[in-house]
């Protein structure tokens, strides 16, 4: 039965190959069947594997060795699939939410001329993502890691005729490369120290026995650098907002629900290292909470519906890393799981809004849509309440647990972390309800032409929205941290902090409601109060809507010096002067030398004979004088 794991991975690959090679010729109906059918089958197989796993008690992972990739001396690099509780949660999210988004895409991308290419890329992404979460070895994980980067690049730049979108794809790819360098170094260090890249073996080596020759913190930080790239954490967060250039279902699948959580998965998977790397864990917690806070402040002033959601995603990812940084890996995965539902629902809802408005993304030109597209509105509202942390929706449970462990964990929890995270939660509730308000309530600010064409999306889209909204509502009742506890034990809570639990829970709820009330207060009544606040704090608004000018700062710090060095040193000095100069010089030398020598070749037979004669005479003379 364990062979099912291989099939889960291979089915989307088959979809990619079929749709990629023949999709254009076989028609959209065929592409739809292959492109959606295979992921759904993969989801079914994942459920089957999950039942198998639980039938065996859930403590012994399913392992499927596939082949030996390379043997270096007596060390081998094996490709094997590994299915334990953590992989199970991730695989079910990826295939489940992935399949839903595939179905949604059939409606959203219906009119696109590159329908087959779109589904081929989407299936390719699923293949690599499943490789990432099912691989037993860090090497297989890395192949998946790079592969999802590739798929992300292809899909961000899906409408590559627009240079702006192609550039966004490049930016995502290059930024990820920086993180990947750290990841690779971490892998080298682990292979050097332990001679294996199997993650369960590495965890076991760090958990028990004599300390490996490599410091857990060094490896931990290096791997986390990789995670900051993929999961858009400070300082490598700049690519994710630009990645919204891709089709909206892509933003939902790759840049919200699955790929960007790969960094969190990596940290949770390598928890054996991080449990013994206090410093690395602190770094993760601080980076996570800082990212969460700053991204949330930016999201408050964004006016593009997808940009708000993009910064919200960065912010939520920061909260996940905060949880991982204080040792609550199961809670981080819990938030990955709930976030996948409500953020996918929000992005797809945004896609439905954009679809209804014929491509309009600016929330200043929306408003009053609640009655026009009711299904989208209701699902969007449920998901908004979920991400804001209104009980008893999914986001409430996971966010509350993150806040609780940030406060009380014995592995680096502190009131400061809690305070920043709580402020983030407040802003999250505020900007999400602001988004809801500006989009769906109040008077319409749409152009007349656009308003005339507003229509509810087809059932393939609204159906998916409804499913995701239900999951966002009830998903939190499934306690993932408890489910993962045999694998990822939760950190201990010091005894004197236990009596804080209930008050903090109440504070979380109050925060969520305060965000809602704040948004209603500032943005109700035609957003007059918000405009007044803005007028008083124009400078702050400029900084926030300029995204703290991080892009501009990177441009000054890295972009321009790089262009200068590339132009002056590499192009003019290196390429044109040294390489071209050396080649041209050699060629010119040969040409001139040939010009001189060609004078000997006069075409005159008698002169040649004279040369022969002279040569022979010289030879004779030489042989005589030498004896």
């Amino acid at each position: 039965m364990a062979h099912l794991l291989t099939w889960i991975v291979l089915l989307p690959l088959a979809g990619f190959v079929i749709n990629g090679l023949a999709g254009n010729r076989l028609g959209n109906r065929f592409v739809t069947i292959v492109g959606c059918g295979l992921p759904i089958v993969a989801f079914g197989l994942a459920v089957e594997c999950f039942l198998d796993l639980m039938a065996g008690g859930g403590r012994t992972p399913l392992v499927t060795p596939v082949f030996t990739w390379a043997a270096i001396g007596d060390r081998t690099l094996d490709v094997a699939f590994y299915f334990d509780r953590l992989s199970a949660v991730m695989t079910l999210i990826i295939t489940g939410v992935g399949s839903l988004i595939h179905v949604y895409s059939t409606g959203y991308m219906k009119e696109d001329k590159s329908y087959a290419r779109y589904f081929a890329y989407l299936n390719l992404f699923l293949f690599f993502m499943l490789l990432l979460v099912l691989g037993r070895s860090l090497l297989v994980l890395f192949v998946g890691w790079e592969g999802v980067g590739l798929a992300s690049y292809l899909l961000i730049g899906f409408w590559f005729e627009d240079p702006e979108k192609a550039r966004a794809g490049k930016k995502a790819f290059v930024t990820n490369r920086i993180g990947d360098a750290g990841f690779l170094l971490g892998m080298f260090a682990l292979f050097y120290a332990l001679g294996t890249l199997d993650m369960d073996t590495i965890n076991a080596a760090f958990m028990s026995g004599p300390a490996p020759v490599v410091s857990a913190s060094v490896v931990g930080i290096l791997l986390f650098i990789g995670a900051t790239g993929k999961s858009a954490q400070i300082p490598l967060h700049v690519w994710l907002p630009d990645a919204m250039a891709g089709p909206t279902p892509v933003s939902a699948l790759i840049h919200a629900a699955t790929m960007v959580t790969a960094g969190v998965y990596l940290v949770a998977r390598m928890s054996g290292i991080y449990m013994h790397a206090e410093f690395a864990s602190h770094v993760i917690a601080v980076i996570g909470v800082a990212t969460a806070f700053f991204a949330a402040t930016i999201a408050v002033v964004q006016t593009d519906i997808k940009k708000v959601l993009a910064y919200s995603t960065i912010s939520q990812l920061g909260l996940m890393f905060l949880a991982a940084g204080v040792g609550a890996y199961g809670v981080a995965i819990f938030h990955v799981y709930t976030h996948a539902f409500f953020k996918a629902c929000l992005f797809l809802g945004a896609g439905s809004v954009i679809h209804a408005l014929g491509g309009e993304q600016d929330i200043r030109k929306m408003g009053g849509l609640a009655k026009r597209i009711p299904v989208t509105f209701v699902t969007f509202a449920v998901a908004t309440a979920a991400i804001a942390g209104i009980p008893p929706l999914a986001g409430f449970f996971s966010k509350d647990e993150i806040l609780w462990f940030a406060f009380a964990s014995s592995m680096g929890g502190s009131p400061v972390l809690w305070a920043v995270a709580a402020a983030t939660a407040l802003m999250t509730a505020f900007y999400m309800f602001r988004l809801l308000w500006l989009t769906f309530f109040g008077a319409s600010r749409m152009d007349h032409e656009v308003e005339h064409h507003v229509h509810e999306s087809p059932v393939s889209m609204t159906g998916v929205l409804a499913v995701l909204a239900v999951l966002s509502a009830v998903g939190g009742f499934l306690s993932i941290p408890h489910f993962l506890e045999p694998l990822l034990p939760l950190p201990a809570i010091p005894a004197h902090l236990h009596h804080f639990e209930m008050p903090l829970l109440v504070v979380s709820v109050v925060i969520a409601l305060a965000g809602l009330a704040g948004a209603a207060f500032f943005f109700g009544d035609g957003a007059k109060r918000a405009a007044r606040v803005r007028a008083h704090a124009e400078g702050l608004h400029t900084v926030l809507s300029g995204k703290y000018f991080v892009d501009e700062f990177y441009e000054r710090l890295l972009g321009r010096p790089l262009v200068w060095i590339s132009d002056r040193v590499f192009l003019r000095l290196g390429d044109r002067m040294l390489i071209d100069g050396a080649l041209d010089g050699t060629a010119r030398l040969a040409q001139r030398g040939a010009g001189v020598l060609s004078r000997i070749q006069s075409g005159n037979l008698h002169r040649y004979l004279l040369f022969v004669l002279a040569g022979s005479a010289a030879c004779l003379l030489w042989s005589v004088t030498r004896g």
Binding site: S598, R599, G603, N604, L605, H606
Partner: protein, 100 residues
Amino acid sequence: MDKLQLLMLLALALFSVGLLGVVIRRNLLVMLMCMELMLNAANLSLVTLARQTDTTAGAVLVFLVFVVAAAEIAIAIPIVLLLVRRRHTLDVDAYADLKG
């Protein structure tokens, strides 16, 4: 001066005449004839020295030279004929097309 020395001198004279002919004459056919002259001078010296040392190797080599000479002339004469057909002259200076 015995007979062998005389023969060697004759060979030297023949070779010199041939070489001189090749170098100074311009007529292609004459040049070819002079080359044959040089080959036969070499043959004469081979036979003479074979006789002097009382061995047969030199005599055998002569046959090889005959063959080479025959082959050479068999190729050279058609080439000359083709050249002449094209330019209507036997003057070797007319054929300087390979000037560098």
